[in-house]
Amino acid sequence: MDFGAINPVVLFASLMVASTPILLAAIGELVVEKSGVLNLGVEGMMITGAICGFAIAVETGSPTLGFIAAMAGGAALSLVFGFLTQVLMSNQVATGLALTLFGLGFSALIGQGYVGTKPPATDRLNLGVLSDIPILGRMLFSHDLIVYLSLALVATVWAFLRFTRAGLILRAVGENHDAAHALGYKVVRIRLAAIAFGGACAGLGGAYLSLVRVPQWTEGMTSGAGWIALAIVVFASWRAGRVLLGAYLFGGVAVLQLNLQAAGLAVPVELLSASPYLVTILVLVIMSADRGRAALNAPASLGRVFHAST
């Protein structure tokens, strides 16, 4: 056993990288759920984004185009969910599951030719002086654009929901769609926009996984990241700032267990590999045990079918 090999600075730097896919997917899902839609297809959209981004990045040699394609792929798949749940009024839980099942198969289908391929490298951002700060530079200022984009996205979503009129309307739709409809807001359109945003975020998160974090393509490579993202939204009790906290917490667990595996800790490898899922469950239990809080923050119309009768 050699814990000396675990360097806290590197650990934090890799924590930021490990958390980014989950953070992106979770912040997207937060907006979706705030509009009153429960999309359980995050895993499917992530893996679709992962392969779309990977394929385009390999074909064009440009990671940027890959990330854009991933967003488009995730959004396109999410709109299938949107069409089914919003226009054809299907059950959101079942449709979300269908999205995940389809996404896993579809991505494996596209990805066949890409197993074992190496994607083009994503450049780290050159932040000049900041990157040269001793310790902090390595920890915080030596990442690629997407890491900072994900942080900016959290801030934007927080500000959008809290301070803007559009954010208020989105929340109104999520709290009471009938009232929002009566006030003349286009419930279905607003929700479709939210769903597409969530899909794009999940797709981007997936592509970050396949292009930067791993970086290669394997079938089913998201291995539950989408579900953890869903759990983080509950953990965060639907608040943007706490999504960041949750994602970094889980990124921390994931990175730490990998480091402990490498250091040869005298605990079965399987237990360490299962730890991110176990921690997620534990946190879910702690959050839901606190009744009042969980109930207060959940959007009141979450998961309910909206049909404009008049």
């Binding site: 054809l88 079942a94 449709t95 269908a98 389809f102």
Partner: protein, 361 residues
Amino acid sequence: MIRLEKRPQPSRAWTVAAPLLAVALTMVAGGLMFALLGKNPVDAIRTIFWDPLFNQQFASYSRPQLLVKAGPLILIAIGLSLGFRAGIWNIGAEGQYIMGALAGAGVALALYPLDTWILFPLMVLAGALGGWAWAMIPALLKTRFRTNEILVSLLLVYVAQQVLASMSLGLMRNPEGGGFPGSRNLQQYPAAANPELFEGTGMHWGVVAAFIAVIAAYVLLNRHMLGFQIRLTGQSPRAARFAGVDTNALVLFCLGTSGALAGLAGLFEVSGPAGQVNIDFNVGYGFTAIIVAFLGRLHPVGILLAGLLMALTYIGGELAQFMLGIPAAAIQAFQGMLLFFLLGVDVLSNYNIRLGRREIA
């Protein structure tokens, strides 16, 4: 202008017709997908849906496979449908399937080389208990702490996979296996084996259990108070509460039953067709069973038919892979598509479609 008008009650005709329409639409869309892959769509669809049953060359092999594949799907889907009807979402059947197999195989391997008839019944019991116990985790967390059972049951699948890996590399590894992962082969352990009951039919104890489950679920849902409470809770949770339905007990029952049935499916698989505990033991029956449950309209008889159809796509998919080089992943996407179409066409059973402008009353 197309408008949707909610029906006072779901249309009976469409409830039956919708799955058929969905299958037809999936064939069209799937054909399109196969065409994009550069395969002849008609050939592909025929290879998947027709050849396994009626092609003289393959049918003798693939017909028995139909029951082998349909058995676990039906068994798991019946369990899931009870919960789905009541709005209790167990989507971690894959994990319960693994844990059932591990518990059952564990009993057999611990007692190796015991040779007595009582061993197999003991394994069946252990298998059901294993799946039940794994499902009780989300159930108890839900009743005690109101934790979302969807997320917990699903996350436990990944944990179960780690347990499976640990078992096939460690505790249950075949001591005579030359260091390869995987347990002893239970098919070569007569007291623990779950063999084909009638030569050439594919019928094994798991298939028998599946048929029993179909009948039991039918009786439960149509003739028993508990079945009524399940349906009531699904249709109107509020009304159910006023009617004195104990929601917590229902959660425990639905999750427990579906877990036990998934565990049984795992046990019959590990002692029969699969033969041994190994890392790649689970092949996604627990997830496909979700599609089966919906395709069968959460109705026992429907699930029976849907399970057979899904089994057909598995076998046909393998055949198409072999004959036409259609990748296995395409079949998975195809199954996912089927669920999309099913959920989509369901609008027809719940809503009337009206054309033209609305009259002003």
